[in-house]
């Protein structure tokens, strides 16, 4: 363990922190996170009317484990233009548990592996077939984007060909600059209309195993879910199942492309891949969720007031030396590795088992067939900032043909 950062007031360098800022040339934010955390694990940004920024692990752990003080009512900041909360991620206790239990069967760890391992492996190989003979591709566009699209649409029971439409809405809502409020508003309304129509279809026949059918069948306290609750589930499921995994996968492929020694190690011994996936998740946490402060409270030497917003920069939190010795080094079999990439406590990511499975299979199949690859054009690499972060342009080259 290293010594705690100094906690003398609120360092000025947090004042202009902006999680939405796009950096040029595909640069990732980790150096900036390190500088902030070295001064203080919690600071205050003056952007967007002011918000608290958490870069330290114990402080984020404390927030996640105190939902009574740190409400999940708004987990996005600046808040998405929603008509109603995302369910159950923006629902606080005690109602939260009732909603959450409705979907547990669809995300069960046992069923996840039994049901999805083979289909995900087949889809991954079909996608690799599509670019392996060319010797080059943007591995974000050709793999990291479509695999989670396949998984998300299949789970929800939506046609695969609707994926581009969903992606357009996700991107307009999640990645849009706050200076253009209209684009996310239009996309938000379009996705509400789309899911309302899909829910109507399920009302006619809700016998399916897909998540939308399960939601139509579901009851809480003997009552069917309201339209707002159903649409709140749909919005969350679309954003959480597709966008986060895509960006985590993009970062994973960038890391593998730029670290040949790690690649060789995993090719030589694929049994190291599962723990390497968790180290990838720690190293490139995609989601940076917000909380709404419900009562005055002190955290990390700072005084929060009721009504304040705090964002957990999990990408910074998961590289805190106080929890992870040698935190800036990628250690494929790191232990312990208690990263907060999937959050924790009552709002722990429901799809964590599916996300891990997708990431593991993509590494296994990609490295089996294309063990050697590198970045083709550094200038085209892109990092996507914001509350869902990661590499979203990863142009690579490799010996054409690979393995069948």
């Amino acid at each position: 363990m290293t010594e705690s950062p100094q906690m003398t007031g609120c360092p000025a360098s947090y004042a202009d922190f902006d999680h939405m800022t796009t950096k040029p040339d595909g640069e990732s934010p980790y150096a900036a996170y390190r500088e902030l955390r070295a001064q203080c694990p919690v600071g205050r940004s003056e952007n967007y009317g002011g918000f608290w920024v958490v870069t330290g692990y114990p402080e984020a752990y404390e927030i996640l484990h105190n939902p009574e003080v740190f409400s999940s009512r708004y987990i996005t900041f600046p808040a998405y233009p929603q008509d109603a909360p995302m369910v159950p991620i923006e629902i606080d206790p005690p109602e939260h548990a009732l909603y959450r239990s409705l979907l547990a069967p669809a995300f069960s760890p046992r069923r996840t592996r039994e049901t999805w391992e083979d289909p995900i492996r087949a889809v991954t190989n079909q996608l690799i077939d599509g670019f392996i003979d060319s010797g080059r591709c943007d591995v974000y566009k050709t793999l990291a984007e479509p695999v989670p699209c396949y998984m998300g649409t299949t789970l929800l029971g939506l046609p695969d060909e609707d994926a581009p439409k969903l992606l357009g809405w996700v991107s307009a809502v999640v990645d849009n600059s706050p200076s253009d409020p209209e684009t996310p508003m239009i996309a938000m309304q379009q996705q509400y209309e789309y899911f309302a129509a899909k829910l109507d279809e399920r009302r006619k026949d809700s016998s399916g195993d897909d998540v939308l059918s399960r939601l139509i069948r579901a009851e809480v306290d003997g009552k069917k879910l309201s339209q707002d609750e159903l649409l709140g589930f749909c919005l969350l499921l679309m954003l959480a199942s597709i966008d986060t995994t895509q960006k985590a996968m993009g970062s994973m492929m960038w890391h593998l492309a730029t670290h040949p020694d790690l690649r060789h190690e995993l090719v030589a011994d694929p049994s190291k891949i599962p723990t390497a996936v968790d180290e990838m998740l720690r190293f490139y946490s995609p989601s940076q969720p917000a909380r709404l402060v419900k009562q005055d409270v002190e955290l990390g030497g700072q005084q929060f007031k009721a009504g304040d917003v705090v964002i957990m920069m999990v990408g910074a939190v998961d590289r805190d030396e106080r929890e992870f010795p040698d935190a800036e080094t990628f250690i494929p079999d790191r232990s312990p590795n208690r990263h907060l990439t999937f959050g924790g406590h009552i709002h722990k990511c429901m799809g964590a088992h599916i996300a891990r499975l997708e990431l593991r299979i993509v590494i296994e199949e990609f490295l089996r067939r294309i063990p050697d690859f590198e970045i083709e054009d550094e200038t085209k690499v892109r990092w996507n900032p914001g509350q869902v972060q990661g590499y979203i342009s990863v142009p690579i080259k490799f010996p054409a043909g690979g393995r069948a």
Binding site: A104, P105, S108, P109, S335, P336, R338, F342, G344, K348
Partner: protein, 72 residues
């Protein structure tokens, strides 16, 4: 020795049965974990070290290894 899993803390992250499928298993759809006693052929010292590794990796700090009693 006892393996104690605090089910109020456990949130179904599943790190225990991912790391040691021989010793832990998911109990329900939420992924809460159960310990499988008598499954390991290891001697006690090896078993204890495997259990401590699992305990250290639990993101919710829900697993405690109590070595105060004799092997159970």
């Amino acid at each position: 020795m006892k393996v104690l899993i605090d089910h109020n803390r456990c949130q179904g992250h599943g790190r225990c049965y991912d790391l040691e499928p021989e010793l832990f298993e998911p109990l329900d759809d939420d992924g809460h974990s159960g310990f499988l006693p008598g499954r390991s052929a290891d001697d006690v010292a090896v078993l204890v070290s495997r259990l401590h590794k699992v305990s250290a990796n639990c993101p919710e700090r829900a697993i405690t290894i109590d070595e105060s009693e004799s092997v159970e």
